[in-house]
């Protein structure tokens, strides 16, 4: 359809990778736009993880069945476990050091 080199599998992987890039851009915009530390962690902890998983799934579909796909699958698994734990650790450190959360109607911090 697009030339000799692009097939149906490649179209599906392009869709996954485009979704992944959209969620990562949304995570970065959330990091800049939200008014408080705790809400910024909401944006990055969720959007970043899913954006990465979608993007690496796109790479896996592009590659097919080989050993590189197994290594990419382990990378997905590790990121799924590690990113929420890192987010939770730094949020707990901030809460017990005394950083106050933001209520609606205050100024930006």
């Amino acid at each position: 359809m697009f030339g000799i080199g692009i097939g149906v599998t490649d179209i599906i992987s392009i869709i996954f990778m485009a979704g992944g890039v959209f969620f990562m851009v949304a995570g970065a915009v959330g990091l800049l736009r939200l008014p408080d530390f705790y809400t910024r962690l909401h944006a990055t902890g969720k959007c970043d993880t899913l954006g990465e998983v979608l993007m690496i799934t796109g790479c896996m579909i592009f590659q097919g069945w080989s050993f590189v796909s197994v290594k990419l699958f382990f990378l997905i698994f590790f990121i799924f476990m590690a990113n929420p734990v890192g987010t939770h650790a730094i949020m707990k450190a901030a809460y017990y050091t005394g950083l106050k959360p933001w209520k609606k109607g205050e100024g930006r911090r």
Binding site: G3, A28, L31, L41, I56, L75, F78, A93, A94
Partner: protein, 92 residues
């Protein structure tokens, strides 16, 4: 019309631009916690950038480097969080 290498190039450039966006929060964040969160996010995006570069230059070794850097980034964030909460890393 277009090859898969062009797709990976566009993806790589977009992620590089996103990393530059996060750099603002790493420099200006009021307090140290915003800066640590921004560095963690930059590290996470670098993992994806390494996989994309591996596909552009057609070297499958870059996936191993990405796996290693994921572990390093995770351990670094946990150590910083533990130090800020308790004031020491290992209580000997």
């Amino acid at each position: 019309m277009f090859e898969m290498v062009d797709v990976f190039l566009v993806v790589g450039i977009s992620i590089g631009f996103t990393i530059l966006l996060c750099l603002y929060r790493a420099v200006r964040g009021p307090g140290v916690f915003n800066q640590i969160a921004a560095v963690n996010v930059i590290g996470t995006k670098v993992i994806v950038l390494l996989v994309a570069i591996g596909y552009i230059f057609e070297r499958p070794m870059f996936v191993d480097i990405a796996l290693l850097y994921a572990g390093l980034n995770f351990v670094g964030t946990l150590v910083m969080a533990k130090y800020l909460e308790r004031g020491e890393i290992c209580s000997a």
